[in-house]
């Protein structure tokens, strides 16, 4: 595939990411298919897919918050405020369903406000266990997934049998494995893509029909795997944090612009999204439950995991041979706020330089961030 084809594929990905809800509305009209939005982080999209609907992971958009301020305080995180705002403005009403998985009190608030204000949309919340050491946690997860499955069946007007659920899981596993391949490729050959494009690829995977995304991704990979490593100068960085939403492209550009070479990450719209597959053998609902309860990747919204996030980060940073770490924190994100002091302490103990950058939904001047990042990069040299 010539380079122009890479551009073409990227443009297809970008089209849906740039204006997700507009594009999805058009897609729905053209395909006459039901569509259900789901909250980021913990909802198993495979269930929606197996019901024959298009699953879309809700994304934060650039829309300025206006009407939303009559529903929610400014000290809620960006994606919560943004989704409430676009929801009450009617921009999500094209969805047939909106299914949440309880992440934190802010995301539950968004679910509740949207449930109240989107009368035409079926809104449900999966209360999947968050304490992983509790007795009977597996049974509870399965029970809740079964309840959600039954409701999705009603919404879709069709049964989700084991065969179709397994097919969906396979489609998702395949996409995840391709994303991991891309991740590994960019680790070996950093700057093959600007990091903002990596984000576009992952976000588009959350929005496009999986099979279509997989096809495009295969094309892209075939081309990229044949490319010569770019010669890059700068300092190797690990990017961490940013739960639920993608960091804005200008921050990513800024990091790269001051000489950062992003070699690895644990962002939600990054490694977290594709790190873990769902098992293919046995009962598919059980397999989804197992994935929910997977303990190898620390999640700050869950408890009872054997490894703390800070310890995991130190190990990952060392393995990636990054010289430093940029912690991107969504302003007002409580799960992250509570882990940051521990992360800071652990990184300091491990002599890993780090910088923390808070990000906001509203457009803010990046000059201050630029100066801090430049100083950080100087220090790494």
């Amino acid at each position: 595939m010539p380079k122009s084809n890479i551009k073409e594929v990227m443009n297809k990905f970008r089209e849906v990411v740039d204006k997700p809800y507009e594009k999805l509305r058009q897609w729905k009209k053209a395909n006459e298919k039901k569509m259900a939005g789901c909250s980021p982080m913990h909802f198993p999209e495979e269930l929606i897919h197996a019901a024959g609907m298009l699953p879309v992971v809700l994304q934060e958009t650039d829309e300025t918050i206006t009407t939303g301020f009559s529903y929610i305080y400014p000290f809620f995180c960006g994606i919560t405020r943004n989704l409430i705002d676009v929801g009450v403005k009617g921009q999500l009403s094209f969805l047939d369903g909106l299914v949440y998985a309880d992440i934190c009190v802010q995301n539950r608030t968004a679910a509740s406000i949207l449930r109240q204000n989107l009368p035409s949309v079926y809104v449900d919340v999966a209360q999947l266990p968050s304490s992983f050491t509790r007795k009977g946690v597996m049974e509870d997860t399965i029970k809740e997934l079964d309840r959600i499955k039954a409701n999705l069946e009603k919404l879709a007007g069709r049964n989700i049998d084991d065969t179709s659920l397994k097919q969906s899981i396979a489609a998702y596993n395949k996409n995840r494995s391709l994303l991991r391949r891309l991740h590994n490729l960019c680790q070996k050959n950093p700057r093959l893509l600007p990091y903002r494009d990596m984000q576009v690829i992952v976000q588009s995977s959350m929005l496009m029909p999986k099979e279509e995304h997989t096809q495009l991704l295969e094309k892209l990979l075939a081309e990229m795997e044949g490319m010569k490593p770019a010669s890059v100068k700068g300092s190797r960085l690990f990017l961490s944090g940013h739960l639920c939403q993608s960091p804005k492209a200008d921050i990513l550009d800024l990091i790269e612009g001051v000489g950062g070479i992003i070699v690895d990450d644990d962002l939600y719209t990054g490694y977290r999204y594709y790190a873990i597959d769902v098992e293919m053998n046995g009962s598919p609902i059980e397999a989804l439950a197992k994935r929910h309860l997977e303990k190898s990747l620390p999640v700050p919204t869950r408890t009872g995991l054997p490894m703390r996030w800070e310890k995991y980060l130190v190990d990952r940073v060392k393995a990636s041979k990054a010289q430093g770490i940029v912690v991107l924190m969504v302003k007002f994100c409580e799960p992250h706020l509570f882990y940051y002091p521990f992360i800071k302490e652990a990184l300091t103990k491990a002599s890993i330089p780090h910088i923390m950058v808070e990000t906001e939904h509203e457009v803010v001047s990046l000059e201050g961030v630029r100066t801090r990042l430049q100083a950080f990069m100087e220090m790494l040299k």
């Binding site: 509740s112 209360q127 509790r134 799960p335 509570f338």
Partner: protein, 425 residues
């Protein structure tokens, strides 16, 4: 001529709370020194289970609120900030994580500070039961990490539908059983069910008396105010299950009845009756009570005081202790759907003859702020009750501004007045 400054007429019996809190804290420290394993807990009073296992319990919010009311919380917050906490995080949690850092010797108090009051005994167990507020999760994990101790996370379900309560209670009972097994493991003793039952007799008496006394505030003028009931939370939270709480509430109830008989109000001249949504800025409790008194307004009830702590006393049956606790932890306002909340609030406003709503923005608590605007809007639509928001926070005083509160309250009272005039026409 000297103008008389109007002040809130506080309940005498609430002043006993401070003494009981001080005594209980000293007692916990004494027990810790004698080698008893201490429990630190946040949130809902399911920790009474640990108290019955003869483990002294420190209730984080209770202690911080008490210290904040005396403006002594700052060293805790400084310790948390020195650790890397940003002020956006729940200030109850942040303060107590600061307290933990101090306890561990990772942050040193200025020698001029009251070490006795600010140094906590180390815990052997942490209990998170933040009423379904997800913030309790990383908070509990943080505590467990700092002290290298076990943590138990209670997870009551959010009640999206009215019919969900029964299942939620059954689920919570399972968690209590698991927690009791953990207590047995930690203490190395079989659980003392008799002690728990005895404790629940006292709990039932205390919370029933409190709820009855609060209900008496439907009387006009109200014999007590939200600020009395806020101080009084300690009796049903930090002190719950301890001897003396029932007697204290008996006194409170009698005092309230006496005031009604004598026509004495909580405010010298009650012209407006208000409802308080959200937590209050503890460091300003006295200032706020007097501010309302000066404006001839009485805050007669609130969500934090009335709808969170033991909201179902009638469900307490000491012979069924786990179910009793479960009902009172699962059926709280924070876990209820918007439809349910607005219905309860509308009934409340009618029963307590509410003229207006004060929504206290608790800047670092998203749980208590989750539906503030919809509640304001819903009540305005249903009952035509006006509302105002005022800035603040539970224990981070930096989010509070007197000037802003004054202007907003003035605006609210003017709206109420205008509404009354329209009605008269």
């Amino acid at each position: 001529m000297e103008t008389q400054v109007k002040k809130a007429n506080k309940l005498d019996s609430t002043s006993l709370i401070g003494q009981m809190m001080t005594a209980s804290f000293a007692d916990i420290k004494r027990q810790a020194a004698e080698g008893k394993q201490v429990v630190w807990a946040n949130g809902l009073p399911v920790y009474v289970l640990a108290r019955a296992a003869d483990m002294p319990v420190l209730h984080c919010e209770g202690l911080v609120a008490g210290l904040a009311a005396k403006r002594l919380e700052k060293p805790f917050q400084d310790a948390a900030e020195a650790f890397g906490f940003l002020p956006d995080a729940c200030s109850y949690a942040r303060s107590f994580i600061g307290a933990a850092r101090i306890t561990m010797g990772d942050y040193h108090l200025d020698p001029s500070m009251n070490q006795d009051l600010l140094l906590m005994p180390k815990p052997a167990l942490y209990v998170n039961s933040a009423g379904g507020c997800g913030t309790g999760r990383p908070w509990g994990e943080a505590m467990a990490t700092l002290f290298n101790i076990p943590v138990y996370h209670f997870e009551p379900r959010f009640l999206w539908n009215e019919s969900d309560l029964k299942d939620s209670v059954a689920d919570f009972v399972r968690q209590e059983q698991e927690f009791i097994a953990l207590l047995e493991k930690i203490t190395g003793r079989p659980y003392d069910w008799n002690r728990l039952k005895e404790m629940l007799v006292e709990v039932k008496r205390t919370v029933t008396l409190r709820n009855e006394a609060m209900k008496l505030c439907q009387h006009i003028p109200s014999p007590a105010s939200f600020f009395d009931w806020a101080t009084n939370i300690a009796a049903v939270a930090h002190l719950i299950g301890l001897p003396g709480t029932g007697d204290l509430l008996q006194k409170t109830r009698e005092e309230v009845e006496q005031r009604i008989a004598q026509g004495i109000g909580a405010m010298p001249n009650e012209k407006y009756r208000l409802y308080w949504d959200g937590i209050l800025t503890w460091g300003k409790i006295g200032v706020l009570a007097n501010k309302f008194a000066a404006l001839d307004a009485c805050v007669v009830a609130g969500a934090y005081t009335h709808l969170v702590w033991w909201p179902r006393p009638e469900m307490i049956d000491p012979e069924k202790p786990l179910e009793s606790i479960a009902y009172n932890c699962c059926d709280i306002m924070l876990l209820r759907s918007y439809e349910h909340r607005i219905k309860v609030l509308a009934d409340f406003c009618r029963e307590y003859s509410i003229d207006g709503l004060v929504v206290s923005e608790t800047q670092t608590c998203r749980a208590f702020n989750s539906h503030a605007f919809m509640i304001m809007d819903g009540l305005a639509r249903r009952l035509g009750i006006p509302a105002v928001t005022i800035g603040g926070d539970s224990c981070d005083i930096r989010f509070y501004s007197d000037a802003q509160v004054d202007t907003r309250l003035q605006a609210l009272l003017e709206t109420i007045e205008a509404r009354r005039k329209v009605r008269q026409v």
